[in-house]
């Protein structure tokens, strides 16, 4: 069914990080350890799904009827910022160690282009996916869940590779950021193999 195709497409074919270039900053910064990567992905999942739901409803039931679509950027980002504040407070109470591990990256979820990007992409899915013929809140939510899984997958894969990289000799000029970017490039190349799957 369309929902399964949507999930496969978002996770593998059009992976939000490796093929759509959203969510790069946390991708390059956080993914040093698999454990932190998992924690970050969980936080992103929560924020992404909630914000997509709220922004979708806001867009189609408030902004569009009032012809105020141009306010989408500003209203969406305010919603996301508020949700991130909420998540921060919750994580602090539930698991202080995770809160410490994520550090400054938690409030930075606000500037994670993946969250705002997915919220905006979810508004018009039929344009990109031929098997979807009309907009619906359910599609938007499934899309958000799939994309946060995609983000998590990319992050965890990358963290695993980077853990291995630390044991290997890297040419001096390429140490640090360059080799990280090259690795990401190779991972992106690998994911291109999924093209045409859906």
């Amino acid at each position: 069914m369309a929902y399964i195709l949507l999930i496969i497409s978002a996770v593998f074919v059009n992976n939000i990080v490796l093929s759509q270039f959203l969510g790069i900053c946390p991708f390059l910064g956080v993914s040093n350890k698999v454990k932190t990567a998992l924690g970050m992905s969980a936080a992103v999942l929560f924020v992404m799904v909630l914000s997509t739901m709220v922004t979708y409803i806001l867009y189609f039931y408030v902004l569009q009827p009032l012809n105020l679509q141009f306010l989408n950027t500003i209203t969406f980002i305010v919603i996301i910022a508020s949700l991130v504040q909420m998540v921060e407070i919750i994580i602090k109470k539930v698991s202080y160690s995770l809160y410490e591990a994520l550090g400054v990256f938690l409030p930075l979820i606000t500037t994670n282009c993946a969250v705002l990007g997915v919220a905006m992409l979810a508004l018009d899915l039929p344009v990109k996916y031929s098997f979807i013929h009309h907009n619906s809140l359910l599609f938007a939510v499934v899309f958000a869940i799939a994309n946060s899984l995609a983000f998590g997958l990319a992050l965890v894969l990358f963290a695993g590779i980077r853990e291995q990289l630390q044991l290997v000799k890297v040419p001096q000029k390429l140490q640090g950021v360059p080799i990280t970017l090259l690795t990401a490039g190779l991972l992106a190349l690998a994911f291109m193999g999924f093209a045409g799957l859906v």
Binding site: L18, S19, Q20, F21, L22, G23, I24, C25, L28, F70, L71, N72, T73, I74, I77, V78, A81, P107, L108, T110, T111, N112, C113, V115, L116, G117, M120, L121, K173, L174, V177, P178, I179, T180, L181, L182, A184, G185, L186, A188, L189, M192
Partner: protein, 197 residues
Amino acid sequence: MGSFSNITKGIIKENPVFVLLLGMCPTLAVTSSGINGFAMGAATMFVLVLSNTVISVIKQVIPSKVRIPAYIVVIATFVTIVQLVMEAYTPSIHKQLGLFIPLIVVNCLILGRAEAFASKNNVFNSFLDGIGMGLGFTVALTLLGVVRELLGAGTLFGFNITGIEHPKMMLVFVLPPGAFIVLAYLVAINRMVQKNK
């Protein structure tokens, strides 16, 4: 500290893309050609300069606890203005840059400069800082775009310079992996250039 170093530092020493590694998403996504890279850089610079200036002007009136939401609203306002103006007067570039125009609002460069510089310095210096960082960003994106376009399509800003009709170039460079790879080498080169200074 001379005020004009605020401009020059943004171009090489503290280049937002190659050194500070801010604003990665648009850097990788819209640099498949020189023009796109340049347009994105220009649009971002516009927002950066204006938001830096305005935030520096109102920095004292905003209570510290709500400064981040306040900055976000200011930045989002300028981003929306850029969106609307581009849609009206440069529609083809607006279509090319697509989703990434509204995404300027989450460009960590802009919020980062607002928090790190504009909220702590006077208006004139914040304005210059915006210009410097904006120029550095534009230079970086244009450079990345030009390299990818040359290697991947054989054209320079849309002009065919190879003399062959439809040259068979290395397509991967205008696709996602190419973006990561070219940026990796540009960062390494920038580092080498700085070490030798």
